[in-house]
Structure formats: C-alpha cells, structure tokens
C-alpha cells in the first residue's frame, strides 16, 4: 500500500498543470485541423493568459497564427501599450479590426447610448470573412456567466457567425469535431474549464505581466448606478456627477466606456488573489454595464456572434 501511494504521489498533477495541459492540447488540435486560426486578443487578463498558453504550445517555434484585436476605439492606453509590446516580443502578426473605421465606412452605426459592445459583432464577423478565418480562439470561461455553462470548447458557428444553443455538437472525451463547411467557423475556448481564481493563480505562477490597471491605483472616478467608472474622453461627466479619487482596480478590461472599476487595495498579485478568493460578486456583475440590461443579455449577444 505504501509503495502504491509513493508511486502515484510522484505522478501527481496539480489542477493548474491539468488545465494548462488541456488548453495546450486544444490549441494544438486547432492548428493541426484548421486552415486559418486566429486568436482574439482584447488585452484582458484571459486573453493574455491564452496568448501565454499559445506561446507554450508551439515553443520553440513562434505562435503559428495571427492575433486579432477588435478595437472599439475606447481603449485604456495602458492596455494598448501592453498589447503592442507583447505582440512585438512574440513576433506574431497583429490584425486590428477597428470599430471607429467601421462606423466611418457605414458598416455599423454608433448606438444612441454610445456603447460599442453590440456593434463589435458585425466588425468581428466582417474581419472573419475578409481574412477567411475558420477558427477563432476566445478567452471566455464557463464560470463567467450562466449562458456560458453549456458552451462547448469547440463551438460551431454557421455562415452568419450565429450560435444555436439547441444545436450544439456533443463533445466527448478530448475528441473535438473540427469539421466545418466553407464559410462556417468554430469558436474555440481553451480556457473553458478555468475559473477566475485559476487564471490569477496561473498568472502568479507563470509571472505573467499584466497591464497596470489590474492592480490597485488611484484614479478619478464617478459613481454611476452603484459602479465606479473612470472619467476619460469616452466617458464624459454627466450633469450633477462629482468625480472623486479612489483606490481602484479593474477586474475585467473591456470597452473603456462601459467597464467599471472596483474599490480595492490589492496592488500585488498575492493581494489580488486573496481579494478574488473572498469576493462575493461575479466579475461581469461587478464591472460590466452591458450585462446588466437583462439576465439574457449575454445569451442574445452570443447568438448574434458575439465572442
């Protein structure tokens, strides 16, 4: 009995190792089976982790696919700088699908509230068509939101980029069905089984660099519907609002006009991990104005082809 335990102890695999191995397997599978994969990079921590996993999956070769940023034009400057430095360091091609350009060209119209999350979708789909991408890596996790809990790792999209939750392919073992007809595509979610805490533990373990806005810093904010928004050129003050300086950090990084910060003293990765472990509100609930609209908000956007 002692012998058996000693042996299996030696072949122990931690949960982070198991998650990493699975994600790397998924990424290699995509590159082996698809013609034109692309990795969607937002500058958020999940896409940063995904990029790190891609780096590991193909080392010592370079990442064998480009990286695409669907750019709403409402950016945090720290995030753009981070993106450019990382792309340079890895020697990967960066494609920017620009929402402002799409507004100028008439592909999409600015919505009345100025939020650009929804109009990102046609811009993304347009780029997919233009570059004929057949597999798109996204950093979504199943623990993020209810509509994601049934999402496949390989999620099929028809020629309109639409997702049909009632018509998903069963996914068994680690056998991913990569077959698509021309014009159809697969969204691939290598981080499906990771939780927010797993992501942070991995960032700490791998010493992955992040844009500074993920750590507590002083920022001028306003309180809007109970959420703290940074005042910037995309998010002008409304009448009667009093900006104040608070110590905050971002839990997610999205469009600068609708991503809120949370009050925090966590200025190191260890403190962030403690904070995340103790938190009682989901990261989307805490920081995304766009998901508040209705319980089914995310599901509707996903059907239309949102990532």
């Amino acid at each position: 009995m002692k012998g058996v335990n000693a042996m299996t102890a030696a072949y122990r695999v931690s949960h982070l190792d198991a998650l990493e191995a699975e994600s790397i397997f998924v990424m290699r599978e995509v590159v082996a089976e698809f013609e034109r994969p692309v990795l969607l990079f937002s500058g958020g921590k999940d896409s940063i982790v995904m990029l790190r996993l891609a780096e590991k999956a193909f080392a010592p070769a370079r990442i064998p696919f480009p990286v695409m940023h669907v750019d709403t034009g409402h950016n945090f400057s720290e995030v753009l700088a981070f993106r450019d430095a990382r792309v340079e360091e890895l020697g990967v091609q960066l494609i920017v699908a620009s929402v402002p350009e799409a507004i100028t060209s008439g592909l999409v119209r600015e919505s009345a509230d100025g939020m650009r999350n929804r109009i990102q979708t046609p811009v993304l789909l347009d780029a997919v068509e233009k570059y004929r991408f057949d597999a798109l890596f996204g950093g979504a996790r199943r623990d993020e939101e209810k509509a994601r809990a049934k999402e496949r790792v390989f999620s099929f999209r028809d020629e309109f980029g639409q997702w049909d939750p009632r018509n998903q392919r069963p996914e068994l073992w680690s056998l991913y069905n990569a077959r698509v007809h021309p014009g159809e595509s697969i969204r691939v979610f290598p981080l499906s089984n990771w939780t927010e805490l797993d992501i942070w533990h991995y960032i700490a373990r791998e010493r992955i660099g992040l844009p500074e806005i993920y750590f507590a810093h002083d920022r001028e904010v306003v309180d809007r519907d109970g959420m703290l928004y940074a005042i910037n050129e995309f998010l002008p003050l409304r009448a009667g609002e009093e900006p104040f300086v608070a110590k905050v950090r971002y839990r997610t990084v999205g469009d600068a006009s609708c991503t809120a910060a949370v009050k925090s003293d966590a200025d190191t990765i260890e403190k962030v991990i403690d904070e995340v472990a103790a938190t009682r509100i989901t990261e989307r609930g805490a920081t995304r104005g766009d998901d508040k609209v209705s319980e089914a908000a995310m599901e509707d956007r996903k059907r239309e082809g949102y990532f």
Partner: protein, 428 residues
Amino acid sequence: MTISPEAPSRAMDLLRFATAGSVDDGKSTLIGRLLYDSKAIFEDQLEAVEATSRSRGDEYTNLALLTDGLRAEREQGITIDVAYRYFATPRRKFIIADTPGHIQYTRNMVTGASTADLALILVDARKGLLEQSRRHAFLCSLLRVPHLVLCVNKMDLVDYSQEIFESIADEFTAFAAKLDVPDLTVVPISALKGDNIVTRSENMPWYEGPSLLHHLEHVHIASDRNLVDVRFPVQYVIRPQSTVVADYRGYAGQVASGVLKPGDEVMAMPSGFTSTISSIETADGPIAEAFPPMSVTIRLADEIDIARGDMICRPNNRPAVSQDIEAMVCWMDESRPMSVGGKYAIKHTTRSARAIVRGIQYRLDVNTLHRDECADGLGLNEIGRVKLRTTVPLLADEYRRNRTTGGFIIIDETTNRTVGAGMIIEAA
C-alpha cells in the same frame, strides 16, 4: 455550515464528476448547495435567481435556477444539455458535468460521463431505485467511470430511516455488482437541509461513512490513470522556421497513458520504426518524465517519418493496428439512425478516418440490458454493438483498458455533426 473560507491553494488537484438523477430527485438542489457552501455562487447570481423566483411566484428561492442556463430552457423550465459548473475546496478543484434527466438523457449522460473520474447518481429515498437509476449506473459502467456514488436524497422526508436507506443501498449494490463497477459508495443525504453534504449529519448517527464532500475531496483518483501502457498520439509536428533552432523536430501531444522517459526505446505506429527518446520538452524546459495528462513535445534520436495521427509506444507494448473494429456505439443523432452500410467519418485519438458499418450485432435495451439481435439500426439514444471497417488502420486499445485510445466519435460527413460515440471492444 460552510466549507473552510481559506483561499483554494495552488497545489490542489482536479476531480471531474458527472451528476445524474431523474427529474425532481433533487439534483439541482444538491449542486446549488455544493456551489453555495463552497462559495462558488456569487451574490449577484443569487439575487438574479431570487428575482426570477419571485417573479414566477415560487414560494422558495429556487436554487435550480442557478444551474439552468439558457433562455429556451428557462422558459420551458427544463434543462436540455450538459452544463459545466466549477467549485473548489482547499484540497481539490471540481468540475461538474451536470447532465439533465430528460428526453436526450442518454446522449447527455454519455457525454458527461466520458470525461468523468466519478459519477454521482441521485435517488429519492421515498421512491427508491427507479428504472432510470439502473440506466444511469449502466451508462457509468459502459463509459468506465472509475468511481460511482449513489446519493439517497430527501432522507429528511423518510425520518432519516436507516432501514429505508439500507434497503436502497443493498438493492443498488447488488445491481452494480453485475455491472462491474470498480468503486461504489452510498451516502444518505438531504440536499435541501444539508445533511451529510459538507459534514456528517447528527440526524443519522447510524451512518458511519464520510459526508459527500469529504468523499469527493478524498477519493483516490491518481491511480485511475493507466501508467503502464505507453501511448502518445502525435498531435502536431513542431518544426520552427528559424535559424536559431535549425533542424528542430519535435512531436507534440498529450500523453494518453504510460510513463515516458528520455532514453526509452520507442516504436512509432503504424510504421513500426524504432528509435529512442532523446528528450522530452516543454516550454519551461526539458523534463525527466512525462505521464498523463501532460502535454509535451517528444524528440527522438533518429530521423524517422512521423506525422499527426501516428502513435509513439513501446516496442513490446503496442496497440492493435486494425481496420476492423468492434465497438459499443451510442447514437446521438435525431435526424437519421445509424444503419448497416452507412458511411461516416470517425475521429480516434488524433487520427481521422472514414468507416462503413459492417453489421449491428445487437441493440441493447439500457433498462433491462436485454440484447435485441435482430436490430438493423440504432436510433437516437440507442446503444448497440457494432462492427466497423475503416479506410485506414486505427491504433486501438480496448476501451476498458484505455479510455483515451479506446474511444472514438462518429461524424456525419454531410452535416458534420457528431452523431455517435464509440467504445472499442475489440480491434482484430
């Protein structure tokens, strides 16, 4: 009544489990409780569910809504697809494949069980074992889920009766013995009241086993892996176009089973060429040993021709190389049945092939285990023993010995949908 609030550490391991139960046995309540007690449910999620419960006029906060994802399902009040949930304790991270108990049952349960280390079957103590409970147990054994837990739920409604519990436990144990279930544990619980979920219940002093969570945290899974038969399906060949690492050639893949070390003599299948492992590499540097489920890159001392779909193994321990496969197949397509003469695409490890159905030996009634030897097709959610002939040889093991090199999926070549799951019985 909550699990230790300390942050889950980085040194946890991972347990995947599937849940099964008939409608109203309390599966959603149980999952809701596990998530809630382990703090995997957040206030905003709970608020949304409370609001929905109120608007629907429910008397209580319906924890089932927490695990009911999609709008179509919410509207019909049913769950129709496998959903994945996550929680962690300081010891383990858990991935739940939550398989709903409705029409598509077999398909969903087979999907959820395919990756599970453990399956949790619920029965209502008032109703005892149902035909469905037997079916759940059978599917778990078919998919070779190594550990089975029967939760006898709603013990509060039978006065925590030891007698009732034991009669259900005995009946189930006798049935499971016929199925060759490697490890069975039976726990009396109340998902609603929390008895024997996190801690041992004072209402059932006669029960001497562990609480459900204690069992989930401690069940020994490391030795479920096959560490004997070396199987490394080659996924991708890494050949950098770079002068810094000129002539680099590495075989990337995930170890399916066995332990590989530098210096080991290996054979590449199906070619049969042999070589030795010169190094096993990861992005973090070379390693001394690779074992499941690690994703690594193997380099060999000799230049032999190896491509995706090939398999690295040991010269004296090889998979069968065969175009004739006998397998248990679970059919998952509602539009067309599997029929003799039908042609399909299949994916087995990293290898793709086409296959023709040579014959259906029998169709199995999953409730009675009766074999219908006159069946000429398999409809949605039906299971049968099938003979296939493939266009290229598969590098195959029996599923009961190796879940990774023994399983395959069947794909409709016109619609590209995944229409079946196969478990190899014999490759001759």
